[in-house]
Symmetry: C2
Subunit: 713 residues, 2 copies
């Protein structure tokens, strides 16, 4: 619960410290906005040089401001802010919004100043929004501490933005379109109050139906996942993340001074916490609006009702690209449509009423479509025609939509001709878009959220049959090496119950022969050396050895050849392994992410991993259903489930292996990276055929240099 954030949204009195009476100053804009939108609390400008602003008495300092006051908005040069906050604390004000910039975003000096302020805030149980932000708007209380000119319509979308400019640009974009907001929050540098705090607050806010966010970075990934997971059980979170590419990530860090984690980690976190990610600013509001106004689609069958074939064709493409299909209308529905529509109309889906379609035709046809049990979603399309009033069409659509629990999204092509119908539709809870292609994106996002709600809420899996002692000892012994090859990695996997292909290390020709006899033929031989990364290039792998003589011969040759090619390599014997049966090869791995910690990876094995980038990630610890999800989002997952008539492989065994490896990684943070490649998946069970570990050296990966600085550069 984030009760202490309440004064930011529903305050009894606001002090504006640094307010002026010059209309071209930002602080004047803030005072003005506080007076414009129905805010009922006290308004107290603070400035020793001014008597009055916009009819409000101006106070010389915060200490002289009368009760009630529980929020201070500060617009002063960075250097003088700390003592002012100290005064606020004395005055009993626990909530502070710092609009001013001049902190972390300007470099080390500003960062130090920000840290001092933050320390004071934390020490005194205060909460601070900003610094370097545009302020916040609470549309339902009228509490608007921004200097943005104008406000959007009031409604159910709670929007938070890590960029004040994006927030400002969006206000102008959404104004007058009937898109309704509960909050409009600029978070600035997030020194204290973070995006996650705000998401938690909005999760409990009764006015907010959908939480919408523009995000550049999430500093505490684990906390985000834990909060978002709970909030998304109650309401959707729709999020646009800047810095998805490495160029974008560099642009983010150059302007916020923060290091954004990898986008793969963000995507994993979103998938595991039910967050709906979109790719563009306009998608953000299209999707949020639909989630706020309409019920989730109950299935994937869409009926299109149109007065023109072209847009219906574009819409069909966008539906197919987002996993929706054209509903097969019942014969009765088509028969009834034939009776109410123009005899030339096309009554199969898409239902094309032709250009002259009148409002009452929209009404009757839509009613028939929502009544058809084969239909989950109805999309009415209007291309404005000379002789048909689009507002009347909008009215009919809204009336039908209000009477059904099926999803309705309207497409009205145009600009000036669709302004009025849009306002009407949005007011009556039908989302409207201008281009048919947007509908696929919107429905796709709604389906992501519907799937999340339907996902089993299982607990993180923990295996008891593991032996951390063995792992600890092995790691300690290998720490000086920095990495562990197959032979050293096998005991770790075994200790955590991961099935391995049978193998033993031979230290002599005779040894090799005896071990091969014990394992059974054919066998595989692999050189074991901490200095050899690419064994096959040096002739360090021999496959399909069928008898003892061949094994002894191969051992001798291998040692001689490698000593010749790489005289300095430390040779620590040869692994004698059983020859693997036929199966599907996948890769399972783990790496650490600066923002989200332990990241598990699953994908197709071999050279294709990199060529097709067919991998998915999840943040550990994870649940069984997380593991199934991560498999099913890859093509490798399609192969395992029996693609092209092949027998399905043992998915449960792969899930077990992912979860056991994840537990190993969570238990031992000295493991920097671990990889099983390939994991051979059989019809029953699976086998790790090779594995390796990279260890976190005590001095850090980069010999004592601060990693963060290194990467940020």
């Amino acid at each position: 619960m984030q009760d202490r954030l309440k004064p930011f949204f529903d305050s009894n009195g606001v002090a504006i410290i640094g307010a002026t009476n010059k209309p071209n100053k930002l602080s004047y804009g803030i005072v003005k906005n506080l007076t414009l939108y129905g805010f009922k609390g006290g308004i107290y400008p603070v400035n020793p040089k001014v008597d009055e602003i916009l009819g409000y008495r101006c106070y010389p300092d915060i200490l002289s401001v009368p009760d009630p006051v529980d929020l201070a908005v500060i617009v002063l040069p960075a250097g003088v802010i700390l003592p002012v906050i100290q005064d606020c604390e004395k005055r009993g004000i626990k909530a502070i919004t710092v609009i001013s910039g001049g902190f972390k975003e300007l470099g080390p000096q500003g960062e130090a100043l920000e840290q001092r302020i933050l320390q004071f805030v934390k020490d005194h149980d205060m909460r601070m929004v900003g610094p370097n932000c545009v302020g916040t708007m609470s549309l339902h209380t009228g509490l608007n501490t921004t200097f943005i000119s104008g406000v959007p319509d009031t409604g159910g979308i709670g929007f938070l933005s890590q960029s004040g400019a994006v927030l400002g640009g969006v206000v102008d974009y959404v104004k007058g379109k009937g898109i309704g907001f509960s909050h409009f929050l600029s978070l600035g540098n997030e020194a204290d109050v973070t995006e996650t705090d705000m998401i938690e607050y909005l999760g409990d806010d009764p006015h907010t139906q959908v939480i919408t966010a523009y995000i550049e970075q999430i500093q505490d990934g684990k906390k985000f996942i834990s909060i978002a997971k709970k909030v998304t059980q109650k309401k959707p979170i729709v999020l646009l993340k800047a810095g998805r590419t490495s160029a974008g990530a560099r642009a983010v860090s150059s302007h916020t001074g923060s290091l954004a984690g990898s986008h793969a980690a963000y995507q994993a976190a979103f998938a595991q916490s039910g967050v709906v990610e979109v790719q563009a600013v306009n998608d953000l509001f299209d999707v949020s609006q639909a989630l706020a106004l309409q019920p989730l689609p109950k299935g994937k069958n869409v009926a299109i009702l149109t007065n023109s074939g072209g847009p219906a064709a574009l819409l069909s493409d966008s539906l197919a690209n987002n996993g929706f299909t054209m509903a097969d209308l019942q014969p009765e529905t088509m028969q009834a449509l034939r009776e109410v529509l123009n005899p030339s109309a096309q009554v199969a889906n898409p239902v094309d009423m032709l250009g002259g379609a009148e409002p009452h035709e929209y009404e009757r046809a839509m009613q028939l479509l929502v009544d058809d049990p084969n239909v989950d979603v109805v999309i009415p399309i209007l291309v404005p025609q000379a002789l048909v009033n689009p507002v009347e069409v909008a009215e009919k659509i809204a009336t039908i939509s209000e009477s059904t629990d099926k999803t309705v999204i309207a497409v009205f092509m145009g600009d000036s001709l669709v302004l009025e119908p849009r306002k009407l539709l949005h007011r009556r809870k039908v989302p409207m878009v201008v281009f048919p292609e947007s509908v696929g994106t919107i429905l796709g996002a709604m389906k992501v959220y519907a799937n999340w709600l339907a996902k089993p809420t299982d607990e993180t899996a923990t295996f008891k049959d593991v032996d951390p002692g063995v792992v600890r000892t092995s790691i300690d012994q290998a720490l000086h090496l920095g990495s562990m090859g197959e032979a050293l990695t096998r005991p770790l996997l075994q200790a955590y119950g991961i099935p391995l292909i049978p193998a033993h290390i031979a230290h002599s020709e005779d040894d090799a022969g005896h071990l091969a006899d014990a394992i059974g033929y054919p066998v595989v031989m692999k050189i074991n050396s901490p200095d050899i990364l690419h064994k096959s290039d040096l002739g360090g792998i021999q496959l399909g050895l069928n008898d003892k003589a061949a094994v002894i011969e191969a051992y001798r040759e291998m040692i001689v050849n490698i000593k010749q090619k790489m005289p300095d390599a430390r040779l620590e014997g040869v692994l004698i392994e059983a020859m693997a049966p036929r199966g599907q090869e996948v890769i399972i791995g783990m790496k650490r992410d600066p923002g989200f910690g332990t990241m598990m990876m699953f994908g197709l094995g071999g050279i294709f991993v990199e060529l097709f980038k067919d991998v998915s990630f999840r943040v550990a610890p994870m649940t069984r259903s997380d593991a199934y999800d991560m498999i099913h989002t890859t093509r490798a997952g399609m192969l395992l489930t029996g693609y092209r008539g092949q027998k399905p492989a043992d998915l449960d065994a792969v899930v077990d292996t992912i979860l056991r490896l994840s537990q190993l990684a969570v238990d031992f943070d000295k493991i920097e990276e671990i990889e099983i490649n390939p994991l051979l998946v059989l019809e029953k069970g699976c086998l790790a055929l090779d594995g390796r570990v990279i260890l976190r050296q005590s001095a850090g990966l980069y010999g004592g240099i601060d990693e963060k600085n290194l990467i940020r550069e």
Copy 2:
């Protein structure tokens, strides 16, 4: 040349047959539009029941209309149109626009009527636009035969649409945004004048700088490619194709009564003719506008100039996703930026001037960026701020853009605040978008066109060392089989100079032994039977046979086993093949497309072909550079060119094989499908390891049923 289309765009006099004086009728709208936009020719309403419309004398029939008249626009019921067109012909009018519907789009009866009209038009050397269309606008002459209310601004985009509704919806959308058009053309059923005719005409039209089209189907694919190839050497063609998915294609065919070809064929045709394809209606105009106003990017290095970090980060993502990179600014540029900008500004790319940036800062910083030789493209971003006039910023941006040959695209976030700047920017030839994400799409499309202009214009390759006689005989002999397996296909490939793995058919054990001796060991054996599709399932393949004894034994076993498992299969010996060396396996194939004819395919071999859909297509006949292009658009192409340190394979040999197979397919239309799978690509040369052919039976694939009807259903 399409000189006979001129009266549609620049007429001396227009007759409107079926004009009325009732303001709520479409034909009244047409007369009105002819009077509104500066059309200089004669305007002659024709209607025996009316004397005058909008002050223009109305004539009882077309024969009584005075000179000059060279275009007739017909708005009459479908059934009475043919005699009217006959009168037009008598009157010497060769150009007819039929607005009325009631033809092919309504079914067989309407189609027959349309055909009768078309026959008359063709017999008398006339040209007809429509029927079932919205008419055409020529913005530079003011000749507007549509009933659409309002016109877009005049400029260089020639827009044609196969959907009248899309055209109408777009007029309202583009109006008032300063997007300039030369033509706005609705083509309806395209009985006579097609999209390709219009593209050819606009290709020669001096007012048209970019041709933009909404397309649902192209009926004559070969003609389209040949015309588009020439036009795109002069000006870009930007195209949105509905029916990209099978659901979309069904929606298109249900409302036009036409069969759309596969989208793979369209994509191939676009790639081979330099057409820029976009995915959404708004991309269509964003991209066309940029191509009309700005020079093509000379490289991929982009500088961003912004007053806010967030949009710059979103823009960076969209650039990276479209193959552009952030320019490395020269140290001198950054030094100079530091001198002219706010001391807190970020002077590395993206250049962030911070929120208060003034018009003169935009001007100076942009000048420095266009002067930097490391920069090819400059993207200024403005998020409107309280104290900065966006129109002044737009003016400065326009001034710099006018002085440089580097590409400039502006991002102004917002809606009402950016109306005026947008008009100014567009007037002064700077494209402006509202969302940063659009820029990547636009630049990506511009790069597609720039690459096309840079592509070598080589001729279709034709090999002389081929032996069609052998192929003809082989096909005739196999025609009754319907298909040809590996043994029958090999001579066809050989006759067209495609290198094959050495192989011979053995008809006895002894034969097998002798042939294997001659080929050299190890060998591969494959059963040869027209009845066995999946050889390996029946034990019909044996690999790695190392000596004569093994071959003889394998022959015996194979025949016995298969006779047991499939007693009725016709066994025609066993293929004895050399064992293939190691190499990269790809697939090369050909199939016929209803719209575009011979389609060549290239992709990764094996099970991954279908899993990753890593294939590309081109329409035959093709050039060498087409073949290189098709390889390079696949991941398989990445593998061949030396992915991950592997040695590059012989691309030239693959290109030769594609072109030779293409020539074979063009020469023999009885080949319905042909496939080499796998083609083994070596460091030097390549080898077909297997191949098969499906033949077009004389009775048609579906035993005499018209294929088109079958598929359309």
